[in-house]
Every structure is written in structure tokens, then in C-alpha cells.
């Protein structure tokens, strides 16, 4: 009976059913009574940005680039070999767990070991990025046609076969993906400033938190310009030069007290009860009882409610992202706007996607109060704009028929069906990212898992933080595998990797 409802319509309906369910539980009250005073101050700040209020601004800009560059480089060193063995479910699962933890929390963990050192920041980017590279490169390599390999001369050594038969096909795809991740890394690098790395975020967060909007606006403008001008300054030939400069201008490295590291790993992050048993301070039975009560309390009071809130927030944001990506593409596509008025839409998308979600949420928090609404809006706008932008890049491949006119019905029949599979696969891929980003809103005060992790770190209870991080990672693995399974049914091999097919 429902034969006329195609697989994409069904997937969309399923998505919105899920969104509908989460909207039943979501907390989207509008509370703020009188936000105008603060908004006026923000507006004034934006109109009269003060570029001289920040100390060592040039250094902060450079360090933002430098951390991103080093993070991506080490991520590549880590991820590329892993991509070759990604078929092993163990590698895939551990990579998914590593990806599931937000950069900010990796940094908070490394902070305990390496202190306020550039190693903390670079590793916090490199580790999750490496895990992402592993997965995406593996997916890309799978796309390579196997026919070339069969035509190679007999006796060709394995390395050459690999390079000419496989890598050669997909290298441009991989490079395009690396370029795209570099933009993400710039954003991550800035965000690491929130916890003390000397990047733009260090000053940006302080300025917004303390209501210094003139300074904040200036930093925000600089950040958007930095991301918008990547094609201008990040030339492939200059990269080695940048890398060397990044290595040599790193802030001073601090020493590592191995004894403290050891204590952190073998005592601080172990649950109470267990650690006393291991170190012989408590009997086994007593220790286990203590552990059980700790575990039960933490799970019931923090892990479960936090996980539920994270999911509800992420699914609601996914719905909004879907809508905004469709709208954004309609607005900025060359097939609906024409080449001349398209730049305006592109500029808007650039601003929206380079704005850190944190700042967006912060502004919406003032407007509509401390519910989940600011976080949903921020996530939806940011990711919607990002997906719309990636889709407009795919536009150049779409060739409408001769009769095509820039009208809704023509767009709906000719352009939309061609980009829709890509849109959906991007959306499902971004879901993992959205779920991870809910961590940031936890730090801002929305009661997601990130909120409890942040609290545990500020109460210096590393074992609580560690347990909650594991729960976060597991949740991510679960959701990711579900999303991939749902999508795999509908996409052919080439499309199943989503994020890849659209960065070219």
C-alpha cells in the first residue's frame, strides 16, 4: 500500500518520528523576561569591535593555527596506519570510543598528566582526529575500484600494487578530506583555549563570560576571517614551512612528573573501593561493597540522566539541522540563486558554520533562558549551515535539464533528489558529531553527560570523571553503529561513507 513512499521518504519519516519522540521530553521553555539590556550591550560590542583590547593577539592567532596544524599532522601519523587494520572490530571499536570523547575532555585528562603544556593541546586534537582519519580513510580505501589491481603486471610487489592499484584512485578524496578536517581542527584548537591553551578561545571565552563584548566581537570576527581565508593562506607548498614554524614556536614545554602520572593512572582514576583493594588498604568484601554503592549512585544520579539528556538534545538538534540544511541549501545553491546572488548565501553559511556553537548558545541563552533551547538552536544552526555548505559544493556536479528554471518546483524535482542521499548520509554522520558536541553545552550548564563530567573535574574527582567519560564513549559507539546500520540499508557502497563523497 505504501509502495509510493520511497526509501528516502521512509528514512525521513523515521527520522522525524524519532525527533517527535524526543520533543516530548525536551525542555524548551522560553524563560528570559527581559534580555534586551544584555543584548543591547552585545549589539554595541558587535558594532564597535575593539581589536586592541586583547593582549598577545597575534600570538593567540598563530597558536590557534599551530595547534590545529600539529594536531592534524599527528592525527594523520596515527590514523593512516590504523586505517589499514580498521577491518578488525577491535580497532574499529576502540577508535569509535576515542572519537566519542570530546577534545575538551581529552584535554582535561591530559592536563592532569602533562600540565598546561602544548602537548596537552596537540594530543587532545591528534587522538580523536587520528581515530576519525582511521575510519574515514578505511572507508575511502574501500571505495577504490579493484579492477586496476588485476591489470597490474604479474610479479608486481605488494607495495607498488597498493600505491598504483589502490591509493592512486582515492588520494584526491583523502586530501580533500584532510583539508576539510583542518578547518574543523582550527575550531577545536580555538575551543581548547576555553580550558587554558593559549589559543583564541582563551580570550574569547573570558571576553564573553565577563561581558566584554567589544573585545569578544573583535575576536569572533578575527576567527571567522581566519576560517574564511583558509584557501588563501594554506597553500600546500607552504605547509612544511608552517609545520616547522609551529614546532619551533610552541609554548614552553613543561616537565612531566612520572610519579604523579603513575599515581594518576593507578590511583586517582580508579573507583573508590577497588583502588583501596588494589593497594591493600581495604579487604576485598568491604572494597566491593564500597565500589558497588559508588557505582550505583553515580549511574543512577548522573550517568543515566545525563545520557538521556544528551540523547534528547542531540536528536532534537538533528531535526533542526535537517530543516536548516534543506533551507540553507535552497537559499545558497547556485541552482536556486544563480551565480551572482549566491555569494550572499555563502557568506551567511560561512559565518554560521565558523561560529563556535558555544558562542551561539551563549547568545541564545540570553535570549531565551537556560533551557535546552539555546543548545538546540546553536547545534542546528551550526551543523545545518555546514551541511548546506557541503551540499552547495556538490552542486557543481549537478547538471539540471535544459528546461530548468530557478523555481521551487523545478528545484524540487531536479536538484533535490540528486543531493538528498548525500544530505541524509551527512546528517547521520553529523549525528555522531552533534552527540559529542553536547559535551560543550554540559560545560555551559545544560545537564548532559558533559555537565557531570565537567563537575567531576572541577570537584577534582577524577574517578567519577573517568567513569562518566567511558559511559559517554560507549553511548557514542552505540549510536554510531545504529546510525551506520540504518543508513547502510539505503545507500550503495559509494555513498555509505557520506562525509567523503561531499568534500570533493
Amino acid at each position: 500500500m505504501f509502495n509510493f513512499v520511497g526509501p528516502w521518504q521512509r528514512l525521513t519519516l523515521g527520522l522525524w518520528l524519532l525527533v517527535g519522540i524526543s520533543l516530548l521530553f525536551v525542555d524548551i521553555d522560553i524563560i528570559s523576561l527581559d534580555p534586551w539590556g544584555e543584548l543591547l550591550r552585545m549589539g554595541q560590542g558587535l558594532l564597535t569591535p575593539d581589536f586592541f583590547a586583547t593582549e598577545s593577539l597575534a600570538n593567540a592567532l598563530w597558536q590557534t593555527v599551530s595547534f590545529a596544524l600539529l594536531g592534524v599532522t599527528f592525527g594523520l601519523l596515527l590514523g593512516s596506519p590504523l586505517a589499514l587494520v580498521y577491518r578488525s572490530p577491535w580497532v574499529a571499536a576502540s577508535c569509535a570510543m576515542v572519537r566519542g570523547i570530546h577534545e575538551i575532555f581529552w584535554a582535561l585528562l591530559f592536563l592532569q598528566v602533562f600540565g598546561l603544556s602544548p602537548v596537552t593541546g596537540v594530543l587532545a586534537i591528534a587522538l580523536p582526529y587520528g581515530a576519525t582519519f582511521a575510519r574515514v580513510f578505511h572507508d575511502i580505501l574501500q571505495q577504490a575500484p579493484s579492477s586496476t589491481k588485476e591489470t597490474l603486471p604479474i610479479g608486481c610487489d605488494r607495495l607498488s600494487a597498493y600505491f598504483y592499484g589502490k591509493l592512486g584512485h582515492v588520494l584526491p578524496l583523502m586530501l580533500a578530506y584532510v583539508r576539510y578536517r583542518f578547518e574543523c581542527a582550527l575550531r577545536s584548537s580555538a575551543v581548547l583555549g576555553f580550558i587554558g591553551m593559549p589559543t583564541l578561545g582563551f580570550y574569547l571565552e573570558t571576553a564573553f563570560r565577563q561581558g566584554k563584548y567589544h573585545e569578544g566581537a573583535a575576536l569572533l570576527i578575527l576567527f571567522v576571517v581566519l576560517i574564511g581565508t583558509i584557501p588563501l593562506w594554506s597553500r600546500r607548498r607552504l605547509l612544511p614551512l608552517y609545520l616547522l614554524a609551529a614546532l619551533f614556536t610552541l609554548p614552553k614545554l613543561t616537565g612531566v612528573d612520572l610519579q604523579l602520572v603513575w599515581q594518576f593512572l593507578t590511583f586517582d582514576i580508579l573507583p573508590p573501593g577497588i583502588r583501596e583493594v588494589i593497594h591493600g588498604q581495604q579487604g576485598l568484601e568491604q572494597g566491593l561493597t564500597r565500589f558497588a554503592s559508588w557505582w550505583q549512585r553515580l549511574t543512577l544520579e548522573q550517568a543515566l540522566p545525563g545520557a538521556a539528556a544528551s540523547l534528547v538534545l542531540a536528536v532534537s538538534a538533528l531535526g533542526l539541522t535537517h530543516l536548516l540544511a534543506l533551507l540553507g541549501h535552497r537559499f545558497a545553491s547556485m541552482h536556486s540563486r544563480g551565480k551572482f546572488s549566491m555569494p550572499l548565501g555563502q557568506l551567511l553559511l560561512l559565518i554560521m558554520r565558523s561560529m563556535p556553537e558555544y558562542i551561539l548558545a551563549f547568545i541564545f541563552m540570553m535570549l531565551c533562558g537556560p533551557s535546552m533551547l539555546p543548545a538546540i538552536l546553536a547545534l542546528g544552526l551550526h551543523n545545518g549551515a555546514l551541511i548546506a555548505y557541503l551540499l552547495t559544493r556538490q552542486d557543481s556536479l549537478v547538471r539540471p535539464s535544459e528546461q530548468y528554471q530557478r523555481r521551487g518546483d523545478h528545484y524540487g524535482f531536479e536538484v533535490l533528489p540528486r543531493i538528498y542521499p548525500n544530505l541524509m548520509s551527512l546528517l547521520f554522520y553529523r549525528f555522531e558529531v552533534i552527540l559529542r558536541e553536547t559535551a560543550i553545552f554540559g560545560v555551559l550548564g545544560v545537564m548532559t553527560l558533559g555537565f557531570y563530567v565537567d563537575s567531576a573535574f572541577s570537584e577534582i574527582r577524577y574517578n567519577n570523571a573517568f567513569y562518566l567519560l567511558i559511559v559517554t564513549a560507549l553511548l557514542n559507539v552505540l549510536v554510531d553503529s545504529l546510525a551506520r546500520r540504518m543508513l547502510a540499508k539505503r545507500l550503495n557502497q559509494g555513498m555509505a561513507v557520506g562525509q567523503v563523497s561531499c568534500v570533493v
Partner: protein, 306 residues
């Protein structure tokens, strides 16, 4: 493996050999790896950190002046490391990345528990009798009073999670006066992250009631950055001790006998208003660990410390 044994294993060098083996794999970037494991003792300069309770702009510029003063008076190289949060300051203190820190009441207690033997040596003049203000949006019927207000059913925001004046003491007085836990009193609880945020959010009505550092409130009123027709002070807490300088236990061992004593003297003698304005305090007075016992017991009472 017991800690002692494993530390011996670390020191025996087997660990380093193994590391050395790993290093040969990463030939491209030996630089990073060697730097990573430079022993902590190489840096022999005296480093401190400080987060002021208001105005965190231009941190380095302002506190480098303090560093210069200390350097001249102490005769050792002094550096300042900026941090973003109390927790980061505590971590840096524990890792021996800083030997001296300007802590809030609670973070000082946390730090001294993690580094046994470290001492509170001086506090701000104002910190002997610090207090928090409870502020309420004008749309609520709450009026200024010396009696604790009935806060049942309101929305409430603290400051940062690890703040003494924005979280610890307010939560303690709320729970003691209302006889139940905060989560059973308020319909919504927030952590604004900063005192000026708390003021802005209560003024905007995002939260009905909030708790704020009294000095930040007074500065905001004096500067006109708060509209007092929209938000007002409804109650103030009794006095408690807050910010203090804490120095690590091994300072004398590293910088010579009598260093801690000399440092205390130098801090107490800091009279330059320009330097003091960074904290901002009118002067520093003597303090010791015992002054902060009330903070410790309050933190234990509300479950922030074990």
C-alpha cells in the same frame, strides 16, 4: 602493583629503555618525544598563578608586573602562568607547574589536601570577612531582609562550580536554612560560570535568584553595568574566609632555607596600589591553614569534599 614497587621500576631505567625503543619508531619527530619526557626538575624558576575574582582581561600583562616585583624582592626568576579555572590552578599546583597560587577558599583547601604540607601564607585584607550576596529579579516578591528568604520553587543560579563565594557558601547557607538539598528546593539550578554572568542572567530574568561575590556586585553597581531597578540584593551571608596565597611544601627545599618565610614577608609588604588592583585587594595580611578549617568542613557538609 603497589605504588612503591612501580615507582622503583620507573626509576630503575627499564621504563626509559622501553621508551627509547619506541622513540626509534618515531624518527621523524624525536624532538617532541624527548621534550615530552624532560624531567620536571630542569625548570628552576619560581612560578605562580592567580585568577582574580573579577576582571580577567589582560591577565598576563597585569600579573607579569607582580612577577617582576616578586623577582626583584626574592632574587629568583619568577614567572606567571595564566589559567582559566580554579580546577586548572589546582592541577598546576599539584603537578608542581606552579609553586605558589592565589586560590579561592575552596580551591585552596583542595590544593592543600592534594599536596600535603603546603601552606596558606597570606590572604587579602577583605578575605578575612568575605561574604556573598543573594540577588533576585524585580519580578519576584522577594524583598531585602536580614532573615533568610523562603526560596522554595524559584529558579536559582550559582556562579562557577568551584567558586567559594558563588557556590560553596551560598549552597551551604541555603541547605542549612531550608533544611533540604538544593535540588529539592529550586525548580531549576544553573551554574553561570562567572559572577558577572550571574548578575546578567538574574537581571535578564533567565534565573529568578542568584548568589554572587559581594565585591563583584559592588563594582558592577559602581560602574553602572547593572540595572538596580531590575535586580536587587535580598540577603547577605555571614562572613567567611576566602582568597589566599598558598605555597607548596617543598619550596624551601628547592629555593633555599627560609624561602617561604621571605616570600610571606614580600607578599605582606606588597603596597603598590597598581599591583594590588590586579587581585583586587587593598592589602595582604597573614593567614594560615587553620583559618580555612570552616571552608573545609562546609565543603564536606555539602558533599563537595569526601
Amino acid at each position: 602493583m603497589p605504588v612503591n614497587l612501580s615507582v622503583k621500576w620507573l626509576e630503575s631505567g627499564k621504563f626509559l629503555t622501553r621508551l627509547g625503543l619506541d622513540m626509534s619508531f618515531a624518527k621523524i619527530l624525536p624532538l617532541i618525544f624527548t621534550c615530552l619526557f624532560v624531567p620536571a626538575t630542569l625548570a628552576e624558576s619560581f612560578t605562580f598563578t592567580a585568577i582574580p575574582d573579577e576582571n580577567e582581561s589582560q591577565l598576563k600583562t597585569r600579573f607579569n608586573k607582580v612577577a617582576k616585583y616578586l623577582e626583584a624582592e626574592l632574587g629568583v626568576e619568577v614567572n606567571y602562568v595564566p589559567v582559566k579555572s580554579y580546577a586548572a590552578a589546582v592541577t598546576a599546583f599539584r603537578n608542581n607547574q606552579v609553586q605558589l597560587a592565589w586560590f579561592g577558599g575552596l580551591s585552596g583547601v583542595q590544593a592543600r589536601r592534594l599536596v600535603p604540607g603546603s601552606q596558606a601564607i597570606a590572604q587579602g585584607y577583605e578575605d578575612q570577612y568575605f561574604k556573598s550576596f543573594f540577588i533576585a529579579n524585580a519580578s519576584t516578591p522577594l524583598e531585602p531582609s536580614t532573615n533568610f528568604p523562603n526560596l522554595n520553587g524559584y529558579t536559582f543560579t550559582f556562579g562557577s562550580k568551584g567558586s567559594t563565594s558563588g557556590r560553596l557558601m551560598p549552597q551551604f547557607y541555603i541547605e542549612r536554612n531550608m533544611g533540604k538539598q538544593v535540588k529539592d528546593i529550586f525548580t531549576r539550578i544553573g551554574f553561570s560560570g562567572d559572577h558577572s554572568r550571574t548578575i546578567a542572567q538574574v537581571e535578564a530574568g533567565a534565573y529568578q535568584v542568584g548568589a554572587v561575590n559581594y565585591k563583584v556586585w559592588e563594582t558592577a553597581v559602581a560602574n553602572g553595568t547593572v540595572d538596580t531597578s531590575k535586580v536587587k540584593v535580598i540577603w547577605e551571608t555571614p562572613a567567611y574566609p576566602d582568597y589566599q596565597w598558598t605555597v607548596r611544601a617543598d619550596a624551601d627545599q628547592r629555593f633555599g632555607k627560609g624561602f617561604t618565610e621571605k616570600l610571606t614577608k614580600v607578599l605582606l609588604e606588597m603596597k603598590d596600589p597598581d599591583l594590588l588592583a590586579s587581585f583586587p585587594r587593598q592589602s595582604f595580611v597573614e593567614a594560615d591553614n587553620a583559618d580555612y578549617e570552616p571552608i573545609e568542613s562546609v565543603a564536606t557538609a555539602i558533599g563537595l569534599l569526601d
